[in-house]
Amino acid sequence: MSLNQATRVAVLLSIGQHPVTARARRADQDARALELALQLNHADVIPLHVGQLNEHNEAALRSYLGMGISQIKLIGNSDILLGLEQGVRESQANIVLCGSRAETGEGSGLVPYLLAKKLGWPIVSGLVSIEKLDQGSATLLQALPRGQRRKLKVSLPAVLAVDPAAAVARQSAFGPAQRGAITPQKLSSIEAVSGAEVKHNSALHSFLWQFQPAKKRPKRLKIIKATSARDRFKAAAAKADASGGKVLQGVSADDAANEIIKLLLEESVLNLDGHL
């Protein structure tokens, strides 16, 4: 048996939420994580979900099944973190793949880190692809800003959190989604919800946490620190928002170029240190 065949990948799947209609769906990043797992050769993929199965989320869970996995292990009745930890341990996985952030609730992106800590495994976030699996280690590509990439080697077992730039998840097909199984798991050690675990449970915070629909953040004004009263007045009186763009007609090519460069520099997308 080759070493690669021993790779067991637990994929953490949560219920997502469509950004516009808030309808339940497969979470985009989790689906990408599953996609990465499915593309690994000779790896056993163990999809895990902690939560209850109900009519509200069944379709969303099934749409993971529609990606071509035969079952999802359902860990019900549990603190999420504890459930995940036990689920991962009992599945004997040596890689955990998950999204970086949940689409519902707090979506703080802390869960992968908390899980890694509980498992005592290293965590890499920003994962875009797994290049190679060796004995005890994995070679990964990590997303950097502007589409750049960095290569990392991480010792296994490890938690890997997928970047939104990772490959788009394959389409979910109706047939396999309907036929796939969502199998409740009996975990041996689940009842031990100790006091320490509950600490992350928001209900116990002294301050009441409140969720509201996201407010539009105000655009920052360019502050004028004018010295004269007249300027301050003018600045205050000026209209708050620009309407329409600037159209330059009949200017020379050079002037046009200057305008463009000015804007590029303002937006800091033009790097003058680059090669000529």
Binding site: Q17, P19, T104, G105, E106, G107, G109, L110, Y113, K117, P122, I123, G126, L144, P145, R146, G147, Q148, R149, R150, K151, L152, K153, A165, K199, S202, H205, S206, F207, W209, Q210, F211, Q212, P213, K215, K222, I223, R230, D231, K234, A235, A236, K239, D241, A242, K246, V247, Q249, V251, A256, A257, I260, I261, K262, L263, L265, L272, D273, G274, L276
Partner: protein, 423 residues
């Protein structure tokens, strides 16, 4: 002025002349005003003795960034005052002699300098520091940096941790340092920019290490409330969570105003007990070279996109290279075989999210515009001022694409060369 001219005929200074010609040069206003009789920068004498005008320097910039021209006759004063603002000399000095407690800021230092977000976070740190007397804001910087303006940004204390390991991705080592700081200083707050792989990653590691339920995606702090509360983006930015302010904070950009009117001590600080070396479990094998032109469109930050109005495709590709832009195209350009299919922007191509989208010779069909809905700034070069792309654009240049792109290439090369000379 005539003296000046005589002077320059006697001893020509090509660099100076070049700067005079080049209004985008950082030193342009300095040198131009030296020459002219007034310090107003909308008119100056060019190197050939021809009067040059900069209509854009008339007026002042309004609060929204739009130029306003004052026709009341005080034009010059307006301009002059703007110059003063730019080089405001008088910042109040902010000194904390004997800090009683600390607020720690771990900056991203993208490209070795404080990022705009870093500066906002420092601003936030000072808002928190102001709540308690003798609180110093300490900045942690890993590895080499090129920043010269820590004082202006609000750094009271600087903890500069050097080492080659910090050139790459070294979260374990960094975390070890942060926990060492925690042990020694037990700061009131830890502040990180909530950005992809910098503070976003390190901040979460520290929070988990310290067993603190961090505030993530924080964008507002309500200092007046007791306990202090904060507002964080939640549920993939579809919700706002209002909660108490924890000790570990991961904040978004524009969460607070950056420091603008004080100067800080930037006093170096050293840890007494440094962390032990450990075997890293994550090893950085280095960056993988990705050519900006071929970065996936969906990830690109700056896209130069060409359409049916491009006559000189070689010039287009060169421009993209010089600008470091990712190439995009309209469907017509793809259909005609000038660009590969994976470069198509629009309804049936890629939906892009670039900060700057530069559309050259693209008319702005609805299917194309759909693809650039979430672009921040759109620049457009087109011969037809009436086309829909011009309506969508923040900056539209009406003219021939070939000429304007050639001019852009020329100017940018000049600027780059100039920058090299300076450096």
């Amino acid at each position: 002025m005539s003296e000046n001219m005589n002077n320059s005929t006697l001893r020509r200074d090509p660099r100076r002349e070049w700067i005079l010609r080049n209004r985008l040069h950082p030193q342009h206003s300095e040198i131009a005003t030296e020459d002219s009789s007034s310090d107003v920068l909308h008119e100056w004498m060019g190197p050939q003795g021809i009067k040059r005008k900069a209509p854009h320097n008339i007026g002042f910039i309004g609060p929204n960034g739009i130029r306003r021209i004052d026709r009341s006759g005080t034009q010059q004063a307006g301009s002059a005052s703007r110059k003063e603002i730019a080089q405001q000399p008088s910042r109040r000095s902010h000194q904390i002699q004997h800090p009683q407690q600390y607020i720690l800021v771990v900056a991203d230092m993208t490209g070795g300098r404080l990022s705009a977000q870093d500066k906002d976070i420092l601003g936030l740190a000072h808002q928190l520091a102001a709540k308690k007397a003798e609180t110093a804001v300490m900045l942690v910087v890993f590895g080499e940096h090129k920043e010269a303006a820590f004082a202006e940004a609000g750094v009271d204390r600087l903890l500069h941790i050097e080492g080659e390991a910090f050139d790459g991705f070294s979260p374990d080592l960094r975390l070890a340092w942060l926990t060492a700081i925690e042990r020694e200083l037990h700061p009131d707050y830890w502040l990180f920019p909530d950005s992809g792989l910098g503070g976003g990653d390190l901040g979460r590691r520290l929070a988990v290490e310290l067993d603190v339920h961090a505030a993530t995606g924080l964008w507002q702090v309500n200092l007046k409330e007791q306990p202090i509360s904060c507002v964080c983006r939640a549920a993939a930015s579809t919700q706002d969570l209002t909660r108490e302010l924890p000790r570990v904070i991961l904040a978004l950009s524009e969460c607070a105003e950056p420091i603008s009117d004080s100067l800080h001590a930037v006093q170096e600080f050293n840890l007494v007990r440094q962390p032990l070396d450990q075997l890293p479990r994550i090893q950085d094998l280095g960056a993988v070279a990705v050519d900006p032109a071929s970065v996936s469109l969906a990830e690109a930050e700056f896209i130069l996109s060409g359409g049916n109005g491009i006559r000189d495709w070689d010039g287009f590709h060169q421009t993209a290279e010089i600008l470091g832009a990712t190439e995009g195209a309209s469907r017509v350009a793809v259909d005609d075989g000038y660009m590969p299919r994976d470069r198509q922007v629009g309804a049936t191509g890629t939906w892009v999210t670039a900060r700057v989208y530069m559309a050259v010779g693209i008319s702005g069909a609805i299917q194309h515009l759909q693809g650039i809905q979430s672009c921040d700034k759109v620049i457009c070069i087109n011969t037809d001022a009436g086309c829909d792309m011009v309506k969508r654009a923040d900056l539209a240049l009406i003219g021939d694409s070939t000429e304007i792109l050639a001019a852009v290439r020329r100017k940018v090369s000049e600027l780059k060369q100039e920058k090299r000379h300076v450096a």
